[in-house]
Amino acid sequence: MIVAVASGKGGTGKTTLSAALADSLEQEVTLLDCDVEEPNAALLLHPEWEDRYPVHTPVPVYQADCCTQCGECVSVCTYNALAKIGDWIMVFNQLCHGCGACVYFCTTGSLSEDAREIGSVQCGRSGRIQVVQGLLNLGEVLAPTVIKAVKRESGGASRVIIDCPPGTSCPVIAALDQVDFCLIVAEDSAFGLHDMQALMEVLRVMHVPFGVIVNRAGLGDGRVLRFCRQEGVKVLESVPFDRQIARLTGRGRLFTAEIPEWREKMRRVWSEVEGMVSGARAGSA
């Protein structure tokens, strides 16, 4: 089972709850930190890193000798990463999404593909938890490419937790692709509700079943719970706005590891999700 932990809004506690969930399971589990613009699950899980390798994206390389300046490469590029100036083609690597269209449509062989490093994948272990994190290099924008590389590391693992990036755009879509369930970590605020609703829209389009964990519960006016009740969205747990939990997290310690009852609660969330996923599978079969 692959469970994504996402939120829409940033800073609601995705990483804390992803790590807490992984820490609470009694079996082997793989945690994929797909927030590649600032991966930080390792701050709570303290893995020993075993391997690190670069992630590349293809970029076009221009050779002017045979070019007829037909301009096809420039016109097929959705991202305007190529420009034709006089008898020369300029390539802007930072804007290239690596789709390969320019090379494909070049009839004179003036464009070839080269690989450009844009980030890395790091693998390690913390007890029963296999930790994989992606890191996008500074100034790069192709987060989905690095996220896909991180996800390939999960192989056929039977329990996978994906710590998603914030938002609802391409990086989140890449992280959510092919997951069995999404745990939405919601914050009880106007922004929290708004961004949760946006995420739910995405999940419905992607046919990903979901449930909600309210984090720092008691901080707001209950609008998230009211919304979930109205919409019939399952609320799986509420983690209170609690000084002890905040203090532990601030020191890089997991509240599940220090307060045993929370391990129990997180295990129950996992088995409830398992039930919902097998129910959904049976329903669609």
């Binding site: 613009e37 305007n80 420009a83 100036i85 020369w88 987060a143 990036p165 938002g167 755009s169």
Partner: protein
């Protein structure tokens, strides 16, 4: 010489559009004959790389220089590669800007006046691709 001005409208009275890549039009004026011709900036709707596309549109008009408010690094690189000079203005109408250019009152841009995505006007590129 032809002078391309990023503008909100299509004639001599059009106001300067302060963003190069995502301006509405380029009004191209012949500084000798006073002839004016407007080109719609199709790059304005581009998802990304608007500056690069806009710069190519300007180069194709045959202009030798550009007047705009803000221009990013990629657009500037294209213009420089094509041998165009770029000048900055804060505001004004096309005819006033042509006069200011002829009188040498406009400052030439040597470095980009804004970063990438400068002209997205808060359209959601809030740093982390949300």
């Amino acid at each position: 010489m032809k002078l391309a001005i990023s503008a909100a409208g299509t004639d001599r009275q059009a106001a300067l559009d302060s963003w190069f890549g995502r301006c509405a039009y380029f009004v191209v004026c012949d500084t000798e004959t006073g002839e004016v011709q407007a080109v719609r900036n199709e790059a304005g709707e581009a998802g990304g790389g608007a500056g690069i596309k806009a710069a190519q549109i300007v180069v194709e008009t045959g202009a030798g220089a550009v007047v705009t408010g803000n221009i990013g690094p990629n657009a500037l690189e294209v213009l420089q590669q094509a041998g165009l000079r770029s000048f900055v203005a804060e505001h004004g109408r096309v005819e006033e800007l042509v006069d200011a250019f002829k009188a040498g009152r406009l400052r030439e841009i040597a470095a980009p006046t804004t970063g990438q995505h400068g002209g997205m006007r808060g359209a959601g590129r809030g740093g982390r691709g949300r």
